[in-house]
Amino acid sequence: MESEAIHYPGACAPDRSRSADVGGLRLAVHEWGAADAPPLLLAHGGFDFARTFDVFAPLLAAGGWRVVSWDQRGHGDSEHAALYNWDADARDALAVLDSTAREPCPFVGHSKGGSVLLHLADACPHRVTRLVNIDGLPSRSRHPDVASHERTKLLAEELAGWLDHRRRAAGLTRKPGTLDELARRRGRMNPRLSHDWLRYLVSVGARHDPDGWRWKIDPALRLGGFGPWRPEWTLQRLPGLPVPVLGLLASVSEPMGWDTTEEILRPHLPPEAEIHTLPETGHFIHIERPGAVADLVLRFLA
């Protein structure tokens, strides 16, 4: 079924869409701006997709950039993968970059996308000129200060829950609903974003099946999780970065956010780093304040 056209002020579909291949896995790549403008790599966060940049990316493109983003594996229009990990996301980012340009360019990433690009910058410093991180610097642990036997119980429940989910994952499909139902469901993760915006996201990030709308994201993916990874491993990549860094932080705590503050970051900042905390703003800084964030980014990249 054809998707329903919904308009949102300032939102523009990508000027070009194409695909990139990583070891046989197909990734959807989306571009805004002139094809011969200097490229900029833009990465979305977990459970998002490139078209959540439909307002923000055109503002960067209007500033003279060829904005290149992609749907991370399992997200948006990219193929659902059998396996997901951090290295694979960074490998995918590099494949998208390789398919775009060989000369170094700026990286801009939100949330998990910010951390993935930080990883890529650390692995391939010769490919990046400047790094913008939009609330993508994790600092909190999942189970702060609980007694160790309690922690053991929490971890045990989390593990059993995840394994039970893996046992059911084959053949799982996302729950269908009306456009408004999907928008309201997403509102639980994005409580500060307007219903009109979330409806717009459904129209570009969900597919319209005969029994209703369904998010395109791989049903095997699940919020939360566990593993050996810890936030300080991301922070420790910061001090040695050889390029100027712009960090933007939220000031309002919300479910998908990381609650990182300037105070936490300060000891980890490289010499040429700029940090801004946006007042009265949640984790989706570039969606709540697209104009202000685009201005900050364009000035930093000028």
Binding site: G24, R73, A81, L163, R166, P228
Partner: protein, 218 residues
């Protein structure tokens, strides 16, 4: 020799039936990084009284080789959990990567894992106790067969912090009801395993003794 096919999300796993003894608790063999299941019961395991199964992990042996990599020890644990779902309860014997996976599963499914035996084998150390300088290497050789070159790359880089490993020992100890949920036969002692053997509920022993011990459990 026959193999059962198990579904784990988008992957079909091969669970090889090396010996069938109805009624008795099964032994589940987990291979190392880049290895595959043995074709017959290894001589060292011949004294086990029950059935013996061996699982090929994703990207290994006769299991699906997926596109684009993304391997973690945790996903291999979920592979092994798919075998556990079929077998009900089992005693685990893991080599290398499979030893680490056996530890994870013993902690995550403490009631279903009736003892885990950790042996030397390929990929025992993984990526070490903390992240090193990141490198993004696409495997040079992608010919489509097993073992998946992405598995060889990713499973040589997965970080195994000692305190993460010991949190699984504690779960196994607290929740399995076994006095000795883990037996370590490995001679090599990467950081995670050196920490594991210091925990209560872990016995350093020979494979023969460990198999005998778990065979005698009700």
């Amino acid at each position: 020799m026959s193999a059962l096919r198990l579904r784990h999300d988008k992957v079909t796993l091969a669970l090889h039936v090396l010996r069938e003894v109805p009624g008795a608790r099964a032994l589940l063999l987990l291979h190392g990084r880049g290895e595959r299941s043995p074709a017959r019961v290894p001589g060292t395991h011949a004294g086990w009284p029950g059935s013996i199964f061996a699982l090929d992990f994703t990207g290994h042996g006769d299991s699906t080789v997926p596109s684009g990599g993304g391997y973690t020890a945790e996903l291999m644990m979920a592979d092994a959990d798919a075998a556990l779902a079929r077998l009900g309860a089992a005693t685990l014997v893991g080599r290398g990567l499979g030893a680490y996976v056996a530890l994870l599963l013993a902690g995550a499914r403490p009631r279903a894992v009736r003892g885990a035996i950790l042996c030397d084998g390929a990929g025992l150390a993984g990526g070490g106790p903390k992240p090193v300088t990141p490198s993004i290497a696409a495997p040079a050789e992608l010919r489509g067969g097993a073992p998946d070159p992405y598995a060889l790359v990713d499973l040589a880089r997965d970080v195994r912090p000692p305190d993460y490993a010991t949190s699984f020992v504690r779960q196994a100890s607290q929740l399995s009801g076994l006095e000795r949920p883990l037996s370590v036969c490995a001679v090599e002692r990467p950081d995670w395993l050196a920490a594991v053997v210091e925990e209560p509920g872990v016995e350093c022993t020979s494979l023969a003794e460990a198999l005998g011990h778990y065979a005698s459990l009700p």
